[in-house]
């Protein structure tokens, strides 16, 4: 645990680690979108030809017509890939890292303007992290970097607590029925997991309650002793990895686990006081 606390003593290093892990997710996501480039062409599910009818602002429309049409829109993904690679190789140049974070954030906002379909909660978390990363690395003062890390930690706590507390008051989430509804789907599950859980209501209920307990109580996580704190983080890592393996939520692994160093940093300073 002391080793884990080592990097937490340096707020810039912690934020750089957050940005790097998040950037891996951006890189994978950009390549995923590029692999579906044909869906951005005319007649594709993500094509611009129908969506452009929804734009009203004339000045925005001019930019949109050029940037959002196929194949120009793919430039945004190539820009993201270039920015992420630059982040990986430039660990000391704060202005360069800040610029790359800003580029990724802006491209993400532009893509969200273009189409909201297919955008996940992980993409939104990534956008927040990159905006905070750009502010913190541009300003590069310990105060702003600390505020950025606190913001990222609090967003993680807010994410888990919101998801947990909203579901806690739904009886079908507490008894595992809703978890079964998710795990029976081809989109969010697999045959093995479904065969394991379909007739095992006790297992479903246990898993559902465990997830609810983990999410709802995450608020107190940074205040716990180091041992309990790292047990919580271990559960979180297990939660996201199982979501990735079972449900295919691969982008959540990178966007949410990237916030963990910020939480370790916050826990380190809370325990100091």
């Amino acid at each position: 645990m002391d080793h884990l606390n080592c990097f937490a003593q340096n707020s810039f290093l912690t934020l750089y680690l957050v940005i790097c892990i998040c950037a891996v997710g951006v890189l994978i996501s950009a390549f995923e979108w590029l692999s579906m480039h044909k869906h951005f062409a005319a007649g594709g599910l993500f094509s611009w030809e129908i969506r452009r009818m929804g734009t009203h602002s004339t000045s925005f429309e001019k930019l949109a017509q050029w940037l959002f049409s196929y194949p120009n829109v793919l430039i945004l993904f190539f820009i993201q890939i270039t920015a992420t690679i630059t982040i990986f190789i430039s660990s000391t140049n704060h202005i360069l890292i800040g610029s790359c974070c800003l580029i990724i954030a802006l491209s993400s906002i532009l893509l969200n303007f273009r189409a909201t379909e297919g955008i996940s909660g992980a993409d939104k978390m990534t956008r927040l992290i990159m905006i905070i990363g750009s502010i913190s690395f541009f300003r590069s003062t310990p105060l702003v970097t600390s505020a950025g890390l606190i913001f990222i930690s609090l967003q993680l706590i807010l994410a888990y607590c919101t998801a947990g507390w909203v579901r806690l008051f739904v009886p079908t989430w507490r008894n595992g029925t809703d978890l079964a509804l998710v795990l029976r789907q081809h989109t969010y599950s697999n045959k093995f997991v479904w065969s394991l859980t379909k007739n095992n209501k006790l297992l479903l209920k246990f898993v559902a309650l465990f997830i609810l307990f983990f999410e709802c109580s995450f608020l107190i996580c940074p205040l716990l002793s180091s041992t309990l704190f790292y047990i919580y983080l271990g559960c979180g890592i297990l939660f996201h990895l199982s979501n990735a393996f079972i449900m295919g939520l691969n982008s959540f692994v990178w966007s949410f686990l990237s916030t963990y160093p910020a939480l370790i940093w916050l826990h380190y300073y809370i325990t100091l006081f």
Binding site: S47, M53, R127, L143, F151, V170, D178, L181, V182, N250
Partner: protein, 165 residues
């Protein structure tokens, strides 16, 4: 130091607005032009309980083709690291949600953006597959995943004249 405090204030206000966004505060998303206010209600309060699929078919004066999927959504074992198909499934769910908001206004439904996006995609696929057809139709179905793979039609489009691109 003087610039730091406005930045800190901005970050603090941003976080307060993030909390308000979780509480469904009316109008909170109206001015969120840059989509920086998150909503963290993953699969809650009730999850999507069914798999969605979209089928298309070409229609001629004499006959109707068989329904074929607009895209194949096959989940691979490496989905934990690489899963672009999830984007397509999510997009279809999002489009269906948008379409649902027009259910009670039938006169607007057929000129709504989600309807036109799906029609446009169906049109392009039919043109690619078979230029004998003169009309196109799409339907959205759902099924209970591994529990029951029988598809229930939940949305059936009108038959539209095929537009050669």
């Amino acid at each position: 130091m003087s610039i730091d405090f406005p930045i800190l204030a901005f970050i603090a206000v941003w976080f307060i607005f993030s909390i308000l966004a979780q509480l469904n505060t009316p109008g909170i998303h109206r001015f969120d032009y840059f989509k920086v206010l998150p909503t963290y209600k993953f699969f809650s309060p009730r999850p999507v309980s069914k798999d969605f699929c979209i089928y298309i078919r070409g229609v001629t004066d004499d006959c109707k083709d068989n329904w074929t999927p607009l895209f194949y959504n096959k989940k691979q074992w490496w989905c934990f690291i690489w899963n672009p198909q999830l984007r397509l499934s999510k997009a279809l769910n999002d489009l269906f949600d948008q379409l649902e908001s027009f259910r009670n206004s039938a006169d607007l439904l057929h000129i709504s953006i989600p309807y036109l996006i799906l029609l446009n995609s169906a049109n392009a696929q039919i043109v690619l597959a078979n230029n004998q057809c003169t009309h196109v139709q799409f339907m959205i179905g759902c099924y209970e995943g591994y529990n029951d793979t029988r598809i229930t039609i939940i949305f059936l489009s009108n038959i539209h004249v095929l537009e050669i691109l």
